[in-house]
């Protein structure tokens, strides 16, 4: 956690003299000095760092130079868009990856399996921002099926969510397939079959539960990546979320916002990894003992 703090801080101090870039090209030396004093930039780096960490510990992330508003508030106001987008992406990704992976595993080695794995290989090579643009042209503009920007209505999330999901589908699909192939070949599945259970019940209740564990772990990690990757997607679809905020702050040198977003995303990532472990403990009683 401390390392993350240090990295996000160090990153933003690479930028050279922020006061100069804030004051603008016409500013006199005196203006620059005033700004430097006002934001505490004249103090040594270590002091700035300790002040910032102390602030973070008490929930104060600092103030944006650009918006003149507390960073915490800025992130909070943009968060719903990014979170909805990330969750939509995850739901779509799972809705595509799980059935396809199961289908592939049930037909292991056959044409259907090959076809599905081919889709995975093709999908992995697709640059997501480009897919986004292509979908915007055809689905959005040529056929007018879905809105191409903004999220005033729910269907505004469909395209960006799908594009975001697309990058996670191949990995999740491979994992589901691999887990299912192992599970279907195991003794307990044979027992279940021998008991005369239906094929559906065997696959859904017995095999899937065991194949799901690595999928859950990776899905959590992928959600973290998706929230980070939303910076690209939000700019393609002009969504006003945390990713867009980050991009804007990076290009305008608004470093309190940048360091806060980096910190925020890293924290979410760590939290998600923990959550995945806990969820797996629920799925698999064997893990709970240790």
């Amino acid at each position: 956690m401390l390392t993350v703090l240090t990295i996000s801080f160090a990153l933003t101090r690479l930028s050279g003299d922020v006061a100069v870039s804030m004051a603008g090209p016409q500013a006199t030396q005196q203006d620059v000095d005033t700004i430097r004093k006002a934001y505490g930039l004249d103090r040594p780096l270590t002091v700035q760092f300790v002040t910032w960490v102390a602030g973070v510990a008490t929930g104060d992330l600092g103030r944006s130079y650009l918006y003149h508003a507390p960073v915490g508030e800025l992130i909070r106001s943009r968060l719903p868009v990014t979170l909805t987008l990330g969750l939509t992406g995850l739901v779509i990704a799972l809705a595509l990856a799980l059935p396809l992976g199961i289908l592939a595993a049930m037909n292991e080695g056959r044409v259907l399996d090959r076809g599905i794995m081919m889709i995975a290989v093709l999908g992995q090579a697709m640059p997501s921002f480009w897919l986004g643009l292509v979908l915007v042209i055809w689905l959005g503009v040529k056929w007018q099926l879905l809105p191409i920007s903004g999220v005033e209505t729910w269907d505004g999330y469909v395209l960006p969510g799908f594009v975001l999901a697309f990058s996670a589908v191949p990995a999740l699909m491979r994992l589901t397939r691999g887990g299912m192939v192992d599970a279907l070949a195991s003794d307990y599945v044979r027992t279940a079959r021998a008991k005369g259970l239906t094929r559906f019940s065997v696959v859904m209740k017995h095999a899937l539960r065991n194949a799901a564990m690595p999928v859950v772990a990776v899905a959590a990690v992928q959600l973290g990546f998706m929230l980070g990757g939303s910076i690209v997607i939000e700019s393609v679809f002009a969504l006003n979320g945390v990713g867009y905020l980050a991009w804007e702050s990076i290009s305008k040198n608004d470093f309190p916002v940048v360091q806060a977003v980096v910190l925020f995303l890293a924290t979410i990532y760590i939290a998600l990894t923990l959550l995945a472990d806990m969820f797996n403990a629920v799925l698999d009683p064997r893990l709970r003992i240790s």
Binding site: A125, W130, V262, Y269
Partner: protein
């Protein structure tokens, strides 16, 4: 049947990658036009196989009248260069960390694991964007930034595989023969895990190429007027509703290259018998 498809995929991947590498190397000799030469008289000319296209520009021209085909070919240079340099950089860092952690174990390993975990918690695109934006965008900065960020898979795979070979008989034999520690690491351990690392190399190269395109697309990667495929897509974005091919062409190029590298990696993995979940 399955066997043939696999070999076919490997061969296809190999042909794509070698083909694009050759095109990139020979770019100055095979391009019909100067990729930087602007000609405002023929802006946004459609490709010659589309309606209204002239024979002079095979894939048409961009918003500044530069020959799109030539820019595409020079773009292959950027992608290949970035892919190759990034994996050299990240491969060195990751392999060193992983081998050292896996070989020595104990406290050293704990430190390596901690570094890997730290790296994993960093939001990749965001940090890359921040660094490039603050240091200033240039080819070298993009390569270094991605190289310093993309090593974690090398480290994880090198660590696991080193742990597996560490206790094998030939290592014990080397110890008994009085070999020095650096000699064992370089001559006994490394050659026996290198086939796993080759697979990782292809994966990371594909990732690096995609990330460079994404960074350039956001305007914080390779600076214009260099013809990076990601940058070409970004520059073409304003015109895509009227002439969709301006974003289709570089996007398809990117897709084919990454597909080729992935096929090559998958094929090599089967061939070399490396770990499936690398």
């Amino acid at each position: 049947m399955a066997f043939h498809i696999r070999r076919l995929a490997l061969a296809l991947g190999f042909i794509i990658v070698v083909g694009i590498a050759l095109v990139a190397l020979l770019a100055p000799w095979i391009t019909p036009h100067d990729p930087f030469l602007q000609n405002l008289d023929v802006r946004m000319a459609p490709p010659s196989f589309m309606e209204g296209g002239g024979p002079d520009h095979f894939l048409g021209t961009d918003q500044l009248g530069r020959d799109y085909f030539s820019r595409l070919i020079y773009g292959a240079r950027i992608s290949m260069l970035i892919g190759a340099l990034v994996v050299v950089c990240s491969g060195l860092i990751g392999t060193t960390l992983g081998v050292v952690g896996g070989f020595f174990g104990g406290r050293v390993d704990a430190v390596v694991m901690f570094i890997i975990t730290c790296r994993l918690s960093i939001p990749l695109i965001l940090v890359a964007l921040t660094v490039v934006s603050f240091v200033g965008s240039s080819l070298a900065v993009v390569v270094l930034t991605l190289g310093l960020l993309l090593w974690e898979r090398f480290a994880v795979v090198a660590r696991t595989t080193t742990m597996q070979v560490r206790n094998l008989d030939y290592i014990a034999a080397a110890w008994a023969a009085g070999c020095s520690r650096p000699y064992i690491l370089l001559r006994e351990v490394l050659p026996n895990i290198v086939h796993h690392l080759i697979v990782v190399t292809t994966l990371e190269m594909a990732l690096a190429i995609l990330l460079e395109a994404a960074l350039s697309f956001l305007g914080l990667g390779v600076p214009p007027p260099l013809p990076s495929w990601g940058l070409m897509i970004a520059e073409a974005k304003d015109y895509m509703y009227f002439s969709p091919w301006v974003i289709l062409v570089p996007g398809i190029a990117l897709f084919v290259l990454v597909l080729g590298i992935n096929l090559l990696g998958d094929g090599l993995r089967d061939r070399l018998g490396a770990a499936r979940d690398a």
